[in-house]
Every structure is written in structure tokens, then in C-alpha cells.
């Protein structure tokens, strides 16, 4: 049986379009130091460091963990660098958790970041692959046709996406760390915004952000001494190819299977009832209803009904999603997955202040990447498993 693991410290930066006030090491240290202070630990207490981020062309530094070893107190320690595309923030947390689960280390610092204002994120995201057709419409242009397909399959009303964007951006107003704080946002302001890749409006699209998130993961002995550990109840990752016969990119098998594995470990048979809140990777509004179905919170074709009924809204709903504001409000690409995993942990640790779900005891963190093909998920809880 694997060792028990808990999150005992969380820290993040204020996420912005450009953190021009700080260097790359400064950015990661801002998050890492906050996590250490939260964990009541010093750099010396950490056994190993696991860092994750998306492609290095986003900052123009190759394998930046080599440069950042000093800044993260990793000198003399084992250091790993994970890269699994958009899901990387989540996979990084899972690799860190493995180090503790396996008994190899007791206390691991894990950080995920992106300072994508430094290079050219648009270019790096849609860098032409030699001998391949260039993307005609950027990243959103890849996902928009699948969203249209979901709308056709489910016969959802046209404005479900608008509701999701409104909700997530309103949630972000409760989160001092979120990038976008749209105080004047309304249903109409979202709906009237220009269609960027019809059916996705500009107002329903994630921003480009600089930011970092860090956590301290600890084994049972250390976690028992912590005032509010978030125990990992289950975790998994799954990958499938970008292009293959039989791929369902609207309801990917890798997502479904990853969730089933995590639920099995955590003893979840009814996600909607047993999970108190979830931080789910929704970079374009319609991914909320799509993932509600993919993750079994709703039957196939019915995910949009949960959104429409307000079930995923903080305060009024029984299964609030993305109380942090989600990817729609903050998106440093390499960090976004860890922000999901970390905000889920913060919910069950009662650390979320204005965005706290009252009495949250079980929360889910989720990340995906690539052409809806890489998935990493975890479930954390205030009770020891």
C-alpha cells in the first residue's frame, strides 16, 4: 500500500498579463515562499523539488529548472522537471505526490509556472510544425469545431457558454490572486462581445497570464502535525493520441477513464453528491458542460442543464465549479493545472476566504492539455483516507 500524502502548504503569485515587476526566479519564489510559510517550513525542510511548465519557447529559456535550482532551494537536492503540455501543472503535482507515496521522500516542494509575457505566447502555441498545415485560427480555432459538435449533440441552448463565462469571471472577483477582475461584467456584456471563433466569443476565452503556484506535499508523519492538511484520496493521469481513428474529442476516453480511476481510489460513486466543489480546467466556456458529462457529474447530453440551473455557481449551487475563477480568469499555461489542484486543496483546508465553499471536505482538481488528450486529476479531502 502506498504512503498517505497530504498538501500542507499552498502559495501563489498575483497573476497578471505581465508581471513586469519581477524576474523569473522572483516569480517562482513568490509562490514557493508563500507555500513554505503556509507549511511553516524552511527551505531546509524540503527533500526534493518538482517543477513543471509548458514549452520552454514561452520564456525562451531551455530547461529553466537548471537556472532556477538556486532560487528554489534545490541545490543539493533531487529536482525533476515535468512537461505534459497543458495538463502539466496537474501532472507535476502527481509526480511530486508519487515521491511521497513511494516513501522516497517525506516533504516535496512542487512549483508550476509560466512567464509567457517574456517570449511570444501566441507564436509558441501555434508555432508552425514543419511540413504540416499551419493552424488556421490559433488555439481556439482548434477547439471551436468540437464545441460546435457538442452543441449539436446535446441540443443545448446557445447561451450556456455565456453563463459559464459570466459565472467564472464573477467567481474571480472573490479571488485576489486571479488575473481578470471584471467588475462590470454582466450577462449582456458577455453575450454582446465579438465572436472570435464562432461559437466562442472573445469574452468566453481564457486570458494569457504570468503566474506561479506552489505546494508542499508531505507524508503522514509531517501531515499529522499540520493544522489543516488536504489528504490525497485518489490521483491519476491518462493520455491518448492527437489523431487516431475512433477518438471522441468532445467526450475523450482518456478523460473518462482517468476520472473513473480517481473515483475508484477515492470511493466516489456519485461525483455530484460526494464531491463538494471542483476546480476543473475550462479554458473556453463550453468545456464546463462538456467536462460535467466527461467526468460523470451529469449524464451524456445533460451537462448544460447543471450549468443552466446554477448548480455550478458558488453560493446557490450544490456543486460549485471554479470558485477561483478558473482558467477563464487566470491562465499562466504551465501553472493552470496546478492552480486547479491547489485551489481544490485550499478549499478543503478552509483557506479560500471569500471564495470558500462552506464546509467543503472533498474537492476535485483537474487539468487537461494538448488536443484534449492529456488528463491529470486528483481528489483531496480533509479526512485521512
Amino acid at each position: 500500500m502506498a504512503e498517505r500524502v497530504a498538501v500542507v502548504g499552498c502559495g501563489q503569485t498575483k497573476h497578471e498579463a505581465t508581471r513586469g515587476d519581477i524576474s523569473i526566479p522572483g516569480l517562482v519564489r513568490e509562490a514557493a515562499m508563500r507555500a513554505l510559510i503556509d507549511a511553516d517550513m524552511g527551505w531546509d525542510d524540503i527533500d526534493a523539488v518538482v517543477i513543471g511548465k509548458a514549452p520552454d519557447f514561452f520564456e525562451g529559456v531551455m530547461m529553466p529548472e537548471l537556472y532556477l535550482a538556486d532560487a528554489l532551494g534545490a541545490v543539493g537536492k533531487p529536482m525533476l522537471r515535468v512537461h505534459t503540455a497543458g495538463s502539466v501543472g496537474g501532472s507535476t503535482a502527481l509526480v511530486a505526490a508519487s515521491l511521497v507515496e513511494s516513501g522516497v521522500h517525506q516533504r516535496v516542494l512542487t512549483v508550476a509556472f509560466e512567464k509567457q509575457s517574456e517570449s511570444d505566447a501566441m507564436w509558441a502555441l501555434s508555432m508552425p510544425i514543419p511540413f504540416s498545415q499551419p493552424l488556421l485560427a490559433g488555439a481556439g480555432g482548434y477547439f471551436a469545431p468540437y464545441i460546435r459538435a457538442y452543441m449539436a449533440r446535446s441540443k443545448a441552448p446557445d447561451d450556456i457558454g455565456v453563463m459559464v463565462a459570466l459565472k467564472d469571471r464573477q467567481h474571480a472577483l472573490n479571488n485576489p490572486y486571479a488575473h481578470l477582475h471584471e467588475h462590470d461584467i454582466s450577462y449582456d456584456s458577455v453575450k454582446d462581445a465579438m465572436m472570435l471563433w464562432d461559437p466562442i466569443r472573445y469574452s468566453e476565452t481564457c486570458p494569457s497570464s504570468d503566474g506561479a503556484f506552489a505546494m508542499v506535499l508531505a507524508g503522514e508523519d509531517t501531515a499529522d502535525a499540520s493544522p489543516n492538511p488536504a489528504w490525497i484520496q485518489g490521483s491519476a493521469m491518462r493520455s491518448e493520441p492527437t489523431i487516431a481513428a475512433g477518438r471522441d474529442q468532445v467526450n475523450p476516453a482518456a478523460g473518462r477513464e482517468c476520472a473513473l480511476d480517481v473515483y475508484r481510489q477515492a470511493g466516489i460513486t456519485n461525483p455530484r453528491e460526494q464531491i463538494d466543489t471542483a476546480e476543473i480546467y475550462v479554458p473556453f466556456s463550453w468545456y464546463e458542460p462538456m467536462w460535467l458529462e466527461n467526468l460523470g457529474f451529469a449524464e451524456e447530453g445533460e451537462g448544460w442543464k447543471l450549468t443552466e440551473s446554477g448548480a455550478t455557481t458558488l453560493g446557490t449551487g450544490d456543486i460549485p465549479w471554479n470558485c477561483s475563477g478558473g482558467v477563464l480568469s487566470t491562465n499562466p499555461i504551465g501553472a493552470s493545472g496546478m492552480i486547479r489542484f491547489g485551489e481544490a486543496a485550499m478549499q478543503v483546508r478552509g483557506m479560500c476566504d471569500q471564495r470558500q465553499v462552506d464546509g467543503a471536505k472533498v474537492a476535485m482538481g483537474h487539468a487537461y492539455g494538448g488536443g484534449a488528450q492529456f488528463f491529470s486529476m486528483w481528489i483531496v479531502g480533509s479526512e485521512k483516507p
Binding site: P55, S91, S98, A236
Partner: protein, 361 residues
């Protein structure tokens, strides 16, 4: 469970011929034969493998998200549990070893690949340096290795004669390695008669440019015994990183290698074989000293780099995992009883991994 309590072994390895330049196959076509070979040699399909982990880097490929297309070569349909490190495959092997220790996997496929030929490798590697102060000076990888060589000479602990002996011995050994990029019969004297490339380094003090891939399969306990008559057991594995700036490090020693070796239990018993990921001859001297291997020329009881080492084939991102694979195959063949394999990352041996392997049931 206590660390390392599950016995994990390497049960199969496969490598490409590491060519100077692979201009016919793209990355995924290059890796498919080794992935197929390592699975078919065990009679396994992808579905039989519990976890997959790979190592590669975008900066070598010259495209973002480069590992995504090569994953197709694994055949990840239905979906698989898979992860990737932007590091040499030796670190992917470490991640897979840890996964098996958690009990969530009994077998793992680990692979790594890289084509160095598309870009100007020494220049590409300069992008690893501190982007504020050092990167803008574009110090290439050979420049930095030369700095390290100069420091080693100045310490009085080595000589260019010693380096030439190493260069000669490795290329001669490589003649027996069908996967090596280069091999040859130069004597140390022949080498010393050539002009410096970047003083104090000569051409033969440097590794070649190589394109290639490697794959291994890990298995735990009885599963390993089922799959192989002679598994190569990983009895210890650890890795450590040093500070980044060349100015705050003693470039003539490798304390992270020494520390990793200690944590991996290298010193518990003697080894008879060492595969060291030294891309430059001075680095081999430094590593042999850090690992306590005695005279670097390989005289005495330890055979150093019988494969020819990275000096004969350096598929960047795979070269470290290749060292582990080479040591493992000699263990499995009964040519070695206890071996150490080493992998490195970063400028002038900044980060190092040590893996100790033993034969036996």
C-alpha cells in the same frame, strides 16, 4: 512503505544506431523500431505496460510540444497512464521507478530520443544558461566544457595526456558497439598531435553529434523474473543538482555525483563496470573521481565505458538512459556483476543521476 522496498529491474533494452544525422526518418519514425523491439522481445503489447514515461526536449526538436507527436509511436489507444520529463530519459526512468515503488504499477516503458543534427547543438545548449547575465553572451556547450577543462588542468589533478588516453580508449572500445556514431584506432599520441579545437580541448576530447533513441522496460519483483531470466536489478538510484552559475561551483569536482552515489549505496560493494555520461574527456576524469573509481583510464578492477561512452555516441536526451541500458545489458549478459551507470544534465555536470545495477535472481 520504505523507499526502495520493491525490487525493480530492467528486463529489456533497445537502441537505434546513433547516426551523425538522421535525415530520412522524422522523430516518431526514428523511435518506433526501438519501442517495438523492446516490447516484442518480451512478448508484451502496450496494454501490458502499466506506466509509460519519456524524456525529450523542445529546444532540440525546434518545435513546441514536440513530445506529443512522438507519443503516437507508443500506440496510446486505448488511453494509457503516461508522463513526460523535459530532461534526459534517465530522469524519466527515475520517475517510472518511483511510480513502481508506489505500488500503482508493476511494469513501465521508458524511452528517450533526440535529434541534435537539426540545430547547432552547442549553440542550442547555450539557451540553458541564466537568461539575464549569461545567455546573452551565447557561450556554447564546448566553450563551457573548455572552461571546465582549463580549471581541471590548473588544479594539477589531470593532464591533456590523460584526456588523450581516454579519448583513444573510448573510440577503440566503440568499434565493438554497433550503435556508436564514431569509433576509431587513434592512439593518444595521434590525438595529442592534433590542433586544439577550443583550447585546451581538441576535437577528440569532445563527443560527436548524434541522433538516436533508446527504450527500456522496467518490471518489479516476480514480474521481472517472469519476463527475464537475467534481470538487471536497480539496487540504488538517486540524483542531485548543483547551483547553476559556473562562478559559484568548483568545476573540477562533481559533488552532486558524489552525493547521489552515496545515497544510491554505490560504496556498499565494489563495482566492476561503470557507464559514465561524460561528453568531454575532462568530465570523465571528474566523474571517475567523484564515483571513487580509481584510475580513470580503466585500469584496475573497473571497466569504464566499454560501450565507448558518450564520447562515441551522444544522442542528447537519450545519452544518459543509454548509459543505464548499456550497463543493464552487460549485467544481463553476465559480463558484469555490479555496475554503476551515470547520467548528467546542464552545463558542466550541473545535475547528475547515479544508478547502481546488480545481476542475480
Amino acid at each position: 512503505m520504505p523507499a526502495g522496498s520493491r525490487d525493480v529491474a530492467i528486463v529489456a533494452v533497445a537502441q537505434t544506431e546513433h547516426k551523425r544525422s538522421e535525415t530520412i526518418k522524422n522523430d516518431v519514425e526514428m523511435i518506433m523500431p526501438v519501442l517495438a523491439e523492446v516490447k516484442s522481445s518480451l512478448g508484451l503489447t502496450q496494454a501490458d505496460l502499466d506506466f509509460t514515461c519519456s524524456g525529450s526536449t523542445d529546444y532540440l526538436a525546434g518545435t513546441a510540444f514536440s513530445f506529443v507527436t512522438t507519443l503516437d509511436g507508443v500506440g496510446p489507444m486505448p488511453p494509457i497512464a503516461e508522463s513526460h520529463v523535459e530532461q534526459d530519459g534517465a530522469w524519466a526512468l527515475y520517475e517510472a521507478w518511483v511510480k513502481i515503488q508506489t505500488g500503482k504499477a508493476d511494469t513501465a516503458l521508458v524511452y528517450a530520443y533526440g535529434k541534435s543534427s537539426p540545430g547547432d547543438l552547442p549553440k542550442v545548449l547555450s539557451r540553458q544558461m541564466d537568461p539575464y547575465y549569461v545567455g546573452p553572451l551565447w557561450p556554447d556547450a564546448i566553450d563551457m566544457a573548455a572552461l571546465q577543462g582549463r580549471a581541471l588542468l590548473d588544479s594539477g589533478r589531470s593532464s591533456q595526456d590523460e584526456w588523450a588516453e581516454i579519448a583513444s580508449a573510448r573510440r577503440i572500445a566503440a568499434k565493438a558497439n554497433p550503435n556508436a556514431t564514431i569509433s576509431g584506432d587513434h592512439t593518444a599520441a595521434d590525438i595529442l598531435a592534433t590542433d586544439p579545437l577550443k583550447d585546451p580541448l581538441r576535437l577528440h576530447d569532445c563527443c560527436p553529434i548524434s541522433d538516436g533513441a533508446v527504450a527500456v522496460v522496467l518490471a518489479a519483483g516476480d514480474r521481472a523474473r517472469e519476463l527475464s531470466d537475467s534481470p538487471a536489478w536497480i539496487t540504488g538510484i538517486d540524483h542531485r543538482i548543483e547551483a547553476h552559475s559556473l562562478g559559484v561551483r568548483d568545476l573540477t569536482s562533481s559533488p552532486s555525483t558524489r552525493l547521489a552515489a552515496e545515497k544510491a549505496g554505490l560504496g556498499d560493494k565494489p563495482v566492476d563496470l561503470a557507464e559514465l555520461h561524460a561528453c568531454f574527456t575532462p568530465q570523465e576524469v571528474i566523474l571517475a573521481e567523484a564515483l571513487g573509481l580509481g584510475a580513470a583510464g580503466g585500469s584496475g578492477s573497473v571497466s569504464i565505458n566499454p560501450s565507448g561512452g558518450a564520447l562515441s555516441a551522444n544522442p542528447v536526451m537519450a545519452a544518459g538512459l543509454v548509459r543505464i541500458a548499456e550497463a543493464a545489458s552487460r549485467i544481463s549478459a553476465g559480463e558484469s556483476e555490479r555496475a554503476v551507470a551515470h547520467a548528467t544534465s546542464g552545463p558542466c555536470l550541473q545535475q547528475n543521476l547515479v544508478c547502481v545495477l546488480e545481476g542475480g535472481k
